[in-house]
Amino acid sequence: MSESFEIEVKQHQALWIFTTHGYINNQGGDVIKEKYDESYNGGARKFLLNLADSKIINSIGVSILIEILEKTIEAAGELAFCNCAPIVEKTFTIMGITRYAKIYRTEEDAVKAMS
């Protein structure tokens, strides 16, 4: 709600990890896109979004995630998600996003597989 959306960015070798906090709506999506663009412009091509603390999303927010997914695919990069709440995973599955982005159970699993 009015509690603002937050995001932390960290780097593990070539992998950029974004940890989100809060509702992924249009504003939340825009914040993710902004951080994504910054690291993309710095040369990053491998991205992991840890959504453990984003248990509410909406289709406007997710459409922004599709934008960054498209950009990643076009650059022959890789984008994945981890720690998704069941409803988030279900949403990504319904939309077909899971055909283009892997979902890992934990951040550790993701880092291991993507490094």
């Binding site: 289709s59 406007i60 319904i94």
Partner: protein, 140 residues
Amino acid sequence: MPKEPDRVVELILPMLPDMEIAATRTAEAVAEMMQLDADKTAEVSMALIEACLNSFEHSQSVDRKVFITFRVAGDELQIILKDHGVGFDPTQVEAPVIEKKLHSGARKRGWGLRLMESMMDSVKFESGPDGTTITMIKKK
């Protein structure tokens, strides 16, 4: 002691940012009343968020309100959401396909109706120049 009332909760929300979250809070309380499990409750909330956002964004309703009725009947949760907007024809809405969306220049949006239908057991639209009514059912 008067007889037990119907398990009906009514909510009228202004079309303002984040008010869809108020709708989910009420939905959660109703879901708890019928002991709907956590996953199904989250699915109801997601469908409700999408329905609210559509009314907020597209209805052009002048009173800027959505009218939501939650009704528990046996093992079913029925949600009726109304706006007094311009209406639309759901049969004219193109079904979204991720492969098309992933092309540059394509509109990424257009998932709301799909999500509502996938999250609920049934979704029915009645829409016309007096507005839109969506009836959604979730079974326990």
